[in-house]
């Protein structure tokens, strides 16, 4: 089954087929079908408790669905062998909502950890790569030797992102990349996500509530409600949807403002891929 899928050019990076999840009697998802294409920025939105995080955890092997099949990078996740799972872990990067940085290690050690674990590079080379990744995410070099507890929320997210891309993954998962950030840092994340995709061809899957981020960077957005995927489309198409569960996200002053702002931005600057400055 998986052997031919590996060799052929895979256009879909993640495929979820009829995925259902139950915790005891509580039903989280029923029959979820999702496809994430290569080099796209795919966002999952939904109210609190709609099972977005559970869906993400199922994609990264932290949780098993009750039924259905999930394929990530051509590998089927059910009954995946430990060696295959390890190989998969090296091909993706995950940034957790709270960063998930190891408190016992400095920032630079955190970023170097995946390299130390999975490559045979010299200490010197690992440190150099870590510094480069940290610079890419826009973290100030002074912070490299600090411990995660000494960092601000924004710096922590940047460090976590640097660790997620340490092994040059093909696929990047972001859990609430802008939650708890000030507007300036959040705008930096927008640009960073776009930059990673455009420069390195990464496929990015993110969970977010941030309407600005959704309007600015997401190619396609899946709306999760009542345990089902209500619609998957671009923000523009979704904003015209008649589905009440989708409409919910586009009503209210905050949503309208983000939409207007996006329309304004698109009209004034037909973005000539300006150099990234974070």
């Amino acid at each position: 089954m998986t052997a031919p899928a590996k060799t052929q050019v895979i256009d879909s990076v993640i495929e979820m087929r009829n995925v259902s999840t139950r915790f005891g009697e509580k039903i989280v998802h029923t029959d979820i079908n999702l496809t994430v294409n290569r080099a796209e920025i795919f966002a999952i939105i939904g109210g609190s408790g709609s099972g977005k995080s559970t869906l993400l955890r199922e994609m990264i092997l932290l949780q098993k669905p009750s039924s259905g099949s999930i394929k990530v990078l051509g590998e089927s996740l059910q009954d995946i062998s430990e060696d295959d799972a390890l190989a998969l872990c090296k091909r993706w990067g995950v940034m957790f909502q709270n960063g998930g940085l190891f408190g016992a290690l400095t920032v630079i050690e955190n970023v170097g950890l995946p390299l130390r674990e999975h490559t045979v590079l010299s200490e010197h080379a690992i440190d150099e790569i870590a510094v480069a990744k940290l610079a890419l995410t826009g973290l100030k070099p002074e912070a490299n030797q600090q411990y995660p507890s000494e960092l601000s929320g924004g710096m922590m997210k940047r460090a976590a992102l640097a660790r997620a891309i340490a092994l040059d993954p093909e696929l990047l998962f972001l859990d609430e990349p802008t939650a708890g950030l000030d507007p300036v840092s959040a705008a930096g994340v927008d640009e960073l996500v776009l930059h990673l995709r455009d420069q390195f061809g990464l496929t990015i899957v993110m969970i977010t509530h941030d309407l600005d981020l959704l309007w600015q960077v997401a190619d396609r957005v899946a709306v999760l409600a009542d345990g089902k995927v209500q619609e998957v489309d671009s923000m523009l198409a979704l904003s015209n949807s008649e589905n009440p569960a989708v409409k919910m996200f586009f009503e209210g002053p905050r949503a309208r403002f983000a939409q207007e702002q996006n329309a304004y931005k698109n009209n004034t600057q037909k973005s000539p891929a300006k150099p990234i400055s974070i």
């Binding site: 872990c89 709270n98 960063g99 950890l113 995946p114 674990e117 660790r163």
Partner: protein, 281 residues
């Protein structure tokens, strides 16, 4: 629609307090769940251990050495002091009885056998459970709250290999050594008391001690220590991994780990006593 039915359900379960039978049932099921989880955890650790033994390159020496220092070397003062005091207490309690029969010299038998066979390993285990077992639960619990355990898994690093095995291995190395240290200071405490209360000099005491206490008694005490070490390390780590939710859960699991590991250590000690009496040791 579902959002409407949810609060109703909650309201019902909040108003109707479960009766005695329901409560017994709920705690029985949660106890069974925990037992099954514990079996899974033991199995996972055993698999990780087998892998490490097959590929010794995978053994993490740095955390092992670190744990040897924090759980072993740093515990020397407290283990030593408490064993010393325990030796004094045992000798003092025995002194009154022995003096009545003029059997003063047997204080060496009393202190030697009780310390070496029972008190030193048990005392060490209880101190380590409170000192290190709780620290393990708190560390791993905090790490799961801050998503560090999840991050570790997604980075392809086995938490069992990085967090559990080094702690188990370190404690298995350290506990017998701490027990020997406790033996020595306990006997020394008894010796001081014997000289004070029973006029048994150090030389006489040691003379009798060598005759009274066989190497078997010493080995029994030291032999229990690795078993206690495994219990303490495994319970601490297991309770740490069971932490779910917020910071308050970390505290709860830490407390639970100490209570459970001391309980299991004493149960294991009782089983040892039964086994040794059957084996005539």
């Amino acid at each position: 629609m579902t959002s409407l039915s949810k609060p109703n359900k909650l309201a019902i379960s909040a108003t109707a307090t479960p009766n005695l039978f329901e409560r017994v049932g709920i705690s029985t099921i949660s106890l069974l769940d925990q037992f099954i989880e514990a079996l899974v955890f033991i199995g996972e650790t055993a698999v990780a251990l087998t892998k490490s033994v097959m590929q010794p390159r995978r053994i993490r020496w740095r955390p092992i050495l670190f744990n040897i220092r924090t759980a072993g070397f740093n515990a020397l003062p407290i283990v030593g002091l408490l064993s010393f005091l325990l030796g004094i207490v045992v000798a003092y309690q025995g002194a009154g009885q022995l003096r009545q029969y003029g059997a003063n010299i047997f204080v060496a038998d009393l202190v030697g056998l009780s310390m070496l066979r029972e008190f030193a390993p048990l005392m060490t285990a209880i101190i380590i459970a409170g000192r290190s077992g709780s620290a393990y639960a708190a560390q791993i619990g905090t790490m799961s709250v801050t998503e560090e355990i999840d991050a570790m898994r997604t980075l392809g690093i086995s938490p069992q290999e990085l967090l559990v095995l080094p702690k188990v291995i370190a404690l298995v190395i350290v506990m017998p050594l701490l027990t020997v240290f406790a033996d020595a200071l306990g006997v020394f405490g008894g010796m001081l008391m014997a000289q004070q209360q029973l006029d048994v000099g150090f030389v006489e005491f040691l003379d009798r001690f060598v005759k009274a206490v066989s190497p078997t008694a010493f080995m029994i005490g030291v032999g229990k220590a690795p078993v206690f070490a495994v219990i303490i390390a495994m319970v601490g780590c297991f309770q740490g991994f069971r932490t779910k939710g917020g910071a308050d859960s970390v505290g709860r699991q830490t407390t639970r780990s100490v209570v459970q590991s001391i309980f299991l250590v004493i149960v294991a000690d009782a089983l040892f006593s039964v086994a040794f009496s059957i084996l005539d040791l």
